[in-house]
């Protein structure tokens, strides 16, 4: 044995440069470690393949269970689609106040608007006042919350933060023109709530928070852009206005 070889082998016969997986598989440490490392590699590979298959197939299984057609994709058909609401335009109309989450609030005598999407602003401007009521224009949701609108990077209307009815009540109190009287919510679906929401309709929660009666629609509500400047907002699909009383009870 030459001197060059002798310095590369330890006393127990293991070459000094052993250490990597390739060395183990090559028998650098003898037969038993080589089998062990190979087994770990095979099992690891199988686990990775299994995880990948699960990640790819599980959404499709879910789609099938939920009845979503296979031609659709829950993440969207368009791969380069980016959520325009994450980079919204600033409101062109300067707000009078804002919610804690940053959503703009607008005041005028007899009305408060929260959010600045196009429909919110149009309804704020066009709705005829209901005598004795303070109008509040903001988007409602069937889960018992509100969701003000914004203008996204694409120039379209998009929902902003989920907002608790207590924050809406606070915004109404913050309007210096609000005299503490009854409120009409020009707010989609705010007289209803999903059966599994576990809370009262948004209008009931506002009535409780303010201690006043609140009138609200059971469905989407809107105005005709070519109608009169002051017009009664109309409710979709035969919906109606419901009046909520503090502590419970409704008319309508």
């Amino acid at each position: 044995m030459s001197a060059a070889v002798s310095v590369s082998v330890l006393a127990d016969g293991v070459p000094i440069d052993c250490g990597g997986m390739a060395d183990g598989l090559a028998g650098c440490y003898g037969a038993v470690p080589a089998v062990g490392i190979a087994a770990v590699a095979v099992l690891g590979g199988a686990a990775l393949a299994g995880y990948t298959a699960f990640a790819v197939l599980f959404p499709q299984v879910l789609n099938a269970l939920l009845g979503v057609p296979v031609t659709t994709d829950l993440m969207g058909s368009r791969r380069d689609w980016k959520d325009p609401s994450t980079h919204p335009h600033q409101p062109t109309r300067p707000p009078d106040s804002q919610l804690a989450g940053g959503d703009p609030v607008y005041h005028r005598p007899g009305a408060t608007a929260i959010g600045y999407d196009e429909s919110t602003m149009q309804n704020f401007d066009l709705v005829a006042p209901e005598p004795g009521y303070h109008d509040v224009v903001v988007h409602g949701k069937r889960n018992g919350m509100f969701r003000p609108g914004l203008i996204g990077a694409d120039g379209a209307d998009h929902p902003s933060n989920y907002t608790h009815p207590a924050q809406i009540a606070e915004a109404i109190r913050g309007n210096p023109h609000y005299d503490g009287g009854p409120v009409r919510l020009v707010s989609c679906h705010s007289a209803t709530v999903a059966p599994d929401a576990g809370v009262a309709p948004p209008a009931q929660q506002v009535a409780d928070a303010l201690g006043v009666t609140v009138m609200a629609p059971t469905n989407a509500v809107g105005v005709n852009r070519y109608g009169p400047v002051r017009q009664v907002p109309r409710i979709r699909n035969g919906g109606q206005w419901v009046t909520f009383y503090p502590g419970g009870g409704t008319d309508g």
Binding site: S119, A156, C188, G222
Partner: protein
């Protein structure tokens, strides 16, 4: 002037019932396997339509119920066709298809919304009211 002869698009049954006796197809039956080559221009045309009815509306995306679409039932027109505001979103996001003759008209106009006078739009808005309320 008589009632304008409008055609309707995007009134899918998953997005809620409408009036005027329209037959509503499923949105899931109107999805293309491939994206329009000029989808950005077509979407820009749809978003440039004249608003007739401003709806306060917040609804779940039928393809992705975790996502909400705002003011989708707002109604727009180009004076010939009348569509929901969320049609642009569904075409852009989920490859929802448009009728061939509407698509041909959009391309013929080179994606530019034609000028419409206020009188025509007012008449269209009355049709839109019948459709939505």
């Amino acid at each position: 002037m008589g009632e304008p002869a409008l055609r309707f698009v995007g009134m899918f049954r998953e997005l809620g019932p409408v009036g005027l006796g329209l037959v509503q197809e499923s949105i899931f039956d109107n999805v293309s396997a491939v994206e329009l080559p000029d989808v950005d221009e077509v979407v820009r045309y749809l978003r440039a339509g004249y608003v007739l009815i401003d709806m306060m509306d917040l609804a779940d995306d039928p393809f992705d119920p975790a996502r909400q679409v705002m003011n989708g039932s707002t109604i727009r027109t180009d004076g010939d066709w009348l569509w929901r505001d969320d049609l642009a979103y569904y075409v852009h996001r989920h490859r929802v298809t448009l009728p061939e003759d509407f698509l041909a008209l959009i391309r013929e106009r080179r994606y530019v919304m034609p000028h419409r006078d206020e009188e025509l739009l007012r008449e269209c808005s009355l049709v839109a009211e019948e459709l939505m309320f």
